[in-house]
Each structure stands twice: as C-alpha cells, then as structure tokens.
C-alpha cells in the first residue's frame, strides 16, 4: 500500500583488521507484497568459502524470533554473537529498508557475498532469500529475492 523507508542499525562492525581503504555501501531491500505478519530478516557477509564474516543488518522487532533465522543464527553464535536484546526496524509486506555501512575495498571483487535470510510467522523460512556477490558487476543492480524480498540493491 505504501512504502516506508527506514534506516536500520548496523549491528556489528566488520571484524577485520583496520582497513586501509573503505567506502560507504548503500544497501536497500524492498519486500514483496505477501500475506502475513512482519518479516524477520538478517543480512550478513560470508567469504568465498562460505565462512561467516559479519552481520550487516537485522530487521524485526522481537529479538526472540531472530533466532528462527537459523542458518544465520548458527554462524552468528559460533562467531560469539547473541540475539538477546537485539531489535531492528519492523519490516512488513511491501515495505523497504535501507542502511549504509563502510566496506573495505579488499572485500570487493574477491568472492565475498552479501547473504539475506527471511522468516515470516506461519510461513516457510527462506534460508536462501538472496545472495549478492560484492563486486562491480552487481553495483547498483537490483537483485530479485526468492521469498518475501522483491529486490536487494547494493551500491557504492
């Protein structure tokens, strides 16, 4: 019906050594029109081997249900993170969310991927909602999600 733009919190600083060069990344996620409650969403970066690097964004107001994003949650917990007390912006059907983070140049065109997972109450959890290879090829390109996300756009 209408679109809300919200700025989300960056929930973790990239766990790398002090980057020589970094640039601001704009990440914008627009949800599909789906029937159901507000979504829970995690966006995080993994390396070329699929190893967890850092969480970029979470959305969903009740921290308890973030753990339902189980693929992300396991990696996040193995890296020492806890969802307790976390909360993000609410994001429902048709709404949008946008955030800005600083990403070191070393991650560009090097096989690092921004992965997105979503879950909606009483609906199928989407562990592979979207995966965007960080690099010039995808800069500014809207990438379609496979579940409740319509598009994800990364630009720098």
């Amino acid at each position: 019906m209408f679109t809300l733009l919200k700025t989300a919190t960056v929930v973790a600083v990239l766990g790398l050594a002090a980057p020589a060069q970094a640039r601001p990344f704009n990440i914008s996620i627009t949800m599909d029109s789906y029937r159901g409650q507000e979504a829970y969403l995690a966006a995080y970066i993994v390396d070329a081997n699929g190893q967890y690097v850092s969480t970029v964004l979470t959305a969903g107001t009740r921290s308890r249900y973030l753990a339902d994003l189980s693929r992300w949650n396991r990696m996040f917990q193995r890296a020492g993170g806890r969802v307790d007390g976390f909360s993000g912006a609410s994001i429902g059907s048709g709404q949008s969310i946008r955030t800005q983070i600083d990403v070191p140049d070393a991650l560009l065109n090097a096989g690092y991927t921004l992965r997105i997972e979503t879950a909606v109450e009483d609906k199928r959890y989407q562990p592979d909602e979207a995966a965007i290879l960080l690099g010039d090829a995808n800069n500014g390109q809207p990438i379609a999600g496979s579940g409740y996300v319509r598009t994800v756009t990364v630009s720098y």
């Binding site: 029937r35 159901g36 308890r64 753990a67 189980s70 693929r71 396991r74 193995r78 806890r82 592979d128």
Partner: protein, 743 residues
C-alpha cells in the same frame, strides 16, 4: 463498588471482548482438528528413526518440526533450491503430503484475534480487552458471591428477571474457563511486548563437529537415537556442506547439540524456566497440544455474546429504575423528616422519592439520602424513616453496607422517632431480613419506634399506601401516598368473555377474557420477533397489569391463558371495597381497559421435564390453568386445588377435565371447604403424602399459588413429606424446585 466496576468495564469493552471471544471460539476448533489429523507416534521410535530416511531422501534437508498437536513436518529444498515443506508419516519416515501454509481464513482470524488486523496498536487493544475480561470475571465472581450470600450458595437457583437468570446461569458455566483464557492472554500479551522476558535455551559455546571424518547417515547417530520421537519438538540439520555445523535438537526439556559425524552429544542445555512457563501458558491459551482445554475454553467463549447481551439488559433495567436526583431536597441538618434509603437495584429509591414528594406536599421539610450517609447530626429531625431492601442472604444492600456500624457510633438514644419499611420478595428465604435486623438493632439502642416495622412484598403499591396511612396518623397529617411503579406503555383491551363463579358463596370470582382492541401490525419484523418469541405479549404465569379507572397504581393478575399476542385471560376475585376488582367485575362485554403484560420470572416452570406438583386455592389456579392449557409436551403436571363448593366456584372445571382426557393434566385433586366433610387443599396434600413423596423422590418440582395463609399451611405439609426424604422446603427452594407466588 463491584457492581459499578463491573458495569463500567463491561459496557466500555463490550465490543472488544465480544470480538475476542467469538474469534477465540472459532480458533479453538483448529487444534482439535489438527489433533485428530495427526498420525500417532509409536512408543519406542527414536528421532534417528525418521531423521535417517528423511536425510537419505532429501539431500537439502533443513529441519524436522513436531507441532504441539503431534504433526511432524519436514523443511527442505528441492534440486532447484526451492524451499518446500512436507508432512511426515512417523511410522515410515516418508513424506505423505506437502505441508500447506495456513489458509487465509485461519491466518486472518488469528491476526484479528491477536490485534484486530492492526499492528501494535491493535495488539494493545486486544491486550486491554483480555485484561478487562479478567477483571470482569473477577468482579463478576465477587458480585455473584455477594448476591447469593456466600461461596457455599453460588450454585443456588438464580432469581430475578430473565436477563438476570440467563446472565447468572451462563456465567457459572463459563466463569473459570474465561478467567483462564483471559489471564493467559494477558501473559502472552506481556511477552509479546517484552514486559515479561522469555529466554529460550541456547548453546553458550556453540560447539563444532569433529573435522576430517567421513559423512554418515543421520539414522546411525547415537545422539539422535537416544531421544524418543514423541519428545521431539524441533531438529535442525547441519547446513549442507558446512562440516563445522551440528545437529540442534529441541525437546520440551532441553536443547541438545550433536556432532554430525560422531553422533556424540556435544552439549545439553536444559530448557529455561521462562521457556517452560511460556510453553504452558501458550498451550493453555491456544489449546495447541491440549485440545480438550482448548475445546472447553472455546465453548465458554461461545457463551460470551449471551452473557454480554444479558448483562447489558440488566444494566439497562437498573438504569431505568435508577436516577437518584431528588427535587426540593432539604439539607439533612434542617429537615424535620429524614428519609434514608438502602437499595441495591434502585426500585426502593422510587418509593423513597414518592414518600419525599408527598411528605413535602404535606408541608414537611424532608431530607432524602442514602443509609451510608447516616450522620446522626439531624438537628431539626422529628422522624428518621428507613426504607431498605435486603441483599442476598439477609445482608445490607450496597448503599447501606456501613449503616449498622454508623448507627453503632450514635451513643445516646436520639430525640427523634424512627420507622423501618422493608422491601423484598416472599419467594426469597430471608424475606426483608435486613429491615428486620435494622429494626431490632435500633430498638436495642433505645430508639423509639413511631411505627412497627412494615414489610412490603414485591413492590406492592397498595401495601405502601396503607403504610402511608399509618405514618400519616403518627405524624398527625393526612398522608395519601401514591407511588407509581414505572409502568410500561399500556394497551387497550376489549372484554370478549365473562364468566362469574361463586356468587352463591358470597365470593364472586370472574374469569375475564380480553382481546387487543387494535390488532397488532403484522410487518415482517413483527413476524420475525413473534417467531423468536420476543413479541408474545401475554404468557402463562406472567402477570397482567391493569390500570384501575383512577389510572394510578396498577393491580396485577396472573395470566390464565396460553401464550398469545392478542388474547389474555385472568381470574379476579371481588374484594370488598376493592377498587380494581369491583371495576373489573362491573365490566360488560365490549368494555375496554388499559393494561400491560409483565414477566413474573421467579414463578415459571423449571427448565426440565420432571413432574410438577401444583398447589393452589381460589384464583391461585390462574397461572396453572395457563400452564396446563399450554402443556403440549404432556409434562406430568399434578394439580391440587381448593375451592368452596363444587357446584358454585369450581373454576376451570371443563378445562381441567378436558386436559385430563388429553393427558395435559396428569392428575387433579380438589378440596372444597364449604361442602360436607369439607377440607382445605393442604389437607389433600397431607392425605396424598405417599404419592407426593414418590414424585418428589423422582425430582418433581412444587409450585404453589394462592393466599399467604394457604401457602404457609402447604409449606408445613411439604416440610413433613420432605423430612422423610431427608430434605426440606428451604433446600428445594435453593435449587429452584419449590416456587411460590403468594398474594
């Protein structure tokens, strides 16, 4: 206090609570349906027994979930990476159906129930609704206990108007389930808004699987084989290709982390206390996994619309009687006469206002106030008059609760005189008990009575007027009290039948039949209302209120005809000097009167098919004639009736004989006092003790209608009979099985 809180909450939240109850009732059906649909799990099956086959069949398996109702589902992706889920047969570990997302109706209804299809604001509204429901249940329980006179008596047969009885009956059934529903809802609401924190058990270290080992089938892992399938809630498979990942297994009791290669249990975390409490509250509220509780709560919720509608009707009835403003009220310190009122429902205030008005008209300075406002500082008072009803088991009504203790503070006997007028209903066991107690208390404190305590049955305006005459004499002024109980709009009736009995006995009794002068409109709405039974003006055992020619105080006569919208029959005994009875006896065919129907809710057939013994004398036969004529179900009705002479005043002789032929009357026993070997109806009751005892032991009810003396004599006979059965008239009255209509 409770009453005001209860009404205010109920009216305020009516729509919200109704919406929650109705949607909740429908939702309660789903767990029952799911419970029936779920295939049973065999004992001895382990988690590995289904994890193995499923993992072999589905390379991209994510998780296995067991719903509270016992349905097992599996989440996986197909070869194209499309996320799917399916329902699993526990015996074979095979997918038997794809698992559909909840239908739009269920999803929408659940959303509506939790938050009226709105986001957080809607959820807050629903949470407030739940809180109000809990408060209504508790204040309602407090009212019920106060009204019936104690915990032990809350299951006594309810009294009062149809709405009051309906409210009481439905509430008793639904109260505890509704309290459970609403308290659990308030908890879930608090959790939702994170006012109560629920922490799920989580692995602290999140251990990793052993590296460098070959992949094994999930079916062979010891950590999964050790857990019985019926305990499983959730099993998370390691992400495909992630060799560090582990199996995460949740049961009601704990979270277990299992190595994907060795099957070793790496960590066990017991379920947190908050998690267990949440699971219990959730199951109790939704019925998921506790379908029988859900069914009970759902059934109780279906009664809420009825409870709400009856509650509003009660509030409306009270409101119409209430309104405590008094015109020309004199300050308490300056009044010559102080009237103090103890009233629960408000009808006593009506009498008090009439008394205030007529005393003021007689030139007195009169103050009218509530009994709880008694102060003792009545400097100019000559008389203090108490008008009070009785609440429950002989207690003070709401606005007189403090009166006795306030009076106790008055040390010196006052210089003024007092009078107590009690209002009540003889059908209640403690008739006007509070008025009697008050009179006794005042007497022992040395107060001087201007008049003996007087008790008024069922708002009798005649008795009130007669007490007014006595009061006038005591005050030295002519006081003709007229109080008009608010009468509904009257209808004009035409006399169409008239039979006079008993003239030879100098006790003329007229059976009068009337028809509505203007036939009622027969529009669609009217037809519908008549079909629903809402438009029937005159029903047996109800009363016909007749306005005498002076148009002031209506007199009430039991209706002797079957339920009808247009015709009504009454029996009228001519009273010496009786204004209304003389007027009715003098009517000729075609004459018109003004009258209205009034329900007589405490004297109707009990809601059951057991036999009923009906005992009456004289015109007391009227309500029974109506019931017998309407008895198409042929319920066993046994009539005892007393008259003077079979040849002169045998009312309804033809009707009763025909009813006996058709089976609408099971037996007829008559007594005639002015005949040879004359007897009264109570003598027949005594003579028939064996038969009556048989009926009573089978659960028969007793209905008595007639004069006070006859009713007392009959009560004494029944007490003798009931004593042999180990019970009493009072015990039967409490169960609503001994009903009296006494005049």
């Amino acid at each position: 206090m409770w009453r005001r809180l209860h009404s205010a909450l109920g009216l305020f939240a009516l729509v919200v609570v109704l919406a929650l109850a109705v949607s909740g009732a429908i939702l309660s059906v789903y767990p029952i349906k799911d419970g029936i649909a779920a295939a049973p799990v065999a004992t001895g099956q382990s988690v590995a027994d289904i994890a193995g086959p499923l993992a072999n069949a589905l390379p991209d398996i994510e998780s296995i979930e067991v719903s509270p109702s016992g349905q097992i589902s599996v989440q996986y992706s197909d070869a194209d990476g499309l996320p799917l889920s399916g329902i699993v047969d526990p015996s074979s570990g095979a997918i038997i159906a794809s698992s559909p997302e909840p239908g739009w109706f269920y999803a929408g209804l659940k959303d509506f129930h939790r938050g009226f299809l709105m986001s957080d604001n809607g959820r807050i509204l629903a949470g407030v609704g739940a809180l109000v429901m809990a408060a209504l249940s508790l204040s309602g329980l407090a009212l019920l206990v106060a009204r019936t006179g104690g915990w032990r008596r809350i299951f006594d047969a309810p009294k009062g108007s149809f709405a009051a009885r309906l409210h009481a009956i439905l509430t008793r059934v639904a109260l505890l389930p509704l309290l459970l529903s609403s308290v659990t809802a308030v908890y879930l609401f608090a959790v939702q808004f994170e006012w109560i924190m629920v922490e799920d058990a989580t692995s602290v270290a999140y251990p990793e699987s052993t590296q460098g080992l070959p992949a094994v089938s999930a079916g062979t892992l010891a950590g999964l084989a050790a857990v019985p399938l019926q305990d499983l809630r959730f099993l998370q498979f390691p992400y495909p290709g992630d060799s560090y990942d582990v199996f995460t297994l949740r049961t009601d009791a704990s979270l277990t982390v299992v190595d994907q290669f060795t099957g070793e249990v790496l960590e066990t975390v017991p379920a947190t206390r908050s998690e267990r409490i949440y699971a219990w509250f959730y199951a109790l509220h939704t019925g998921e996994g506790l379908a029988w509780v859900g069914a009970l709560l759902g059934l109780a919720a279906t009664l809420v619309p009825g409870i709400g509608a009856a509650g509003v009707a009660i509030w409306w009835q009270r409101r119409r009687q209430g309104g405590h403003r008094v015109q020309g009220n004199i300050a308490a310190g300056k009044a010559e006469i102080v009237i103090l009122v103890g009233s629960e429902g408000g009808s006593t205030w009506g009498f008090a206002r009439s008394l205030h008005r007529d005393l003021t008209a007689g030139g007195k300075a009169v103050h009218l106030g509530a009994m709880n406002d008694f102060s003792g500082r009545y400097g100019s008072a000559e008389q203090v008059i108490f008008l009070t009803s009785t609440y429950g088991d002989g207690n003070a009504p709401e606005n007189a609760a403090k009166a006795l203790s306030l009076l106790a503070e008055q040390v010196e006997p006052p210089k003024w005189q007092y009078a107590v007028l009690g209002f009540g209903d003889r059908a209640f066991p403690k008739f006007c008990q509070f008025a009697k107690n008050l009179d006794l208390a005042l007497g022992t404190r040395g107060w001087t009575a201007a008049l003996p305590v007087t008790l008024i049955n069922r708002q009798s305006t005649q008795a009130f007027a007669s007490w007014g005459n006595d009061l006038g004499r005591a005050l030295g002024l002519t006081l003709s009290l007229s109080h008009q109980v608010a009468t509904p709009p009257t209808q004009r009736l035409t006399l169409i039948g008239r039979d006079i009995y008993g003239e030879a006995m100098q006790a003329p009794t007229a059976v009068l039949r009337f028809r509505l002068s203007t036939p009622p409109r027969t529009g669609g709405l009217r037809k519908l209302m008549r079909f629903l039974g809402a438009a029937t003006r005159y029903s047996p055992t109800d009363l016909l209120g007749v306005l005498p020619p002076d148009g002031t105080v209506p007199r009430y006569y039991s209706i002797a005809s079957t339920a009808s919208d247009t015709e009504v029959e009454i029996c009228v005994r001519k009273q010496a000097g009786g204004l209304c009875s003389t007027y009715l006896h003098d009517l000729q065919i075609g004459d018109e009167i003004d009258a209205f129907g009034r329900p007589n809710p405490d004297f109707t057939l009990p809601f059951r098919r057991k036999p009923v013994s009906m005992v009456s004398a004289g015109t007391g036969i009227a309500p029974f004639a109506g019931l017998i004529r309407s008895n198409r179900r042929k319920q066993a009705l046994h009539l005892f009736w007393g008259g003077r002479s079979a040849g002169s005043d045998f009312l309804y002789e033809d009707v009763l004989q025909a009813a006996q032929q058709s089976g609408q009357l099971a037996s007829l026993t008559t007594a005639f006092s002015r005949m040879e070997a004359g007897a009264y109806v109570q003598d027949r009751v005594r003579a028939d003790a064996t038969r009556l005892s048989g009926l009573l032991s089978k659960g028969a009810a007793v209905m008595v209608c007639g004069g006070d003396a006859m009713a007392q004599a009959v009560r004494a006979e029944f007490d003798v009979i009931l004593a042999t059965l180990g019970t009493s008239v009072d015990a039967l009255k409490q169960r609503g099985l001994y009903l009296e209509d006494v005049f």
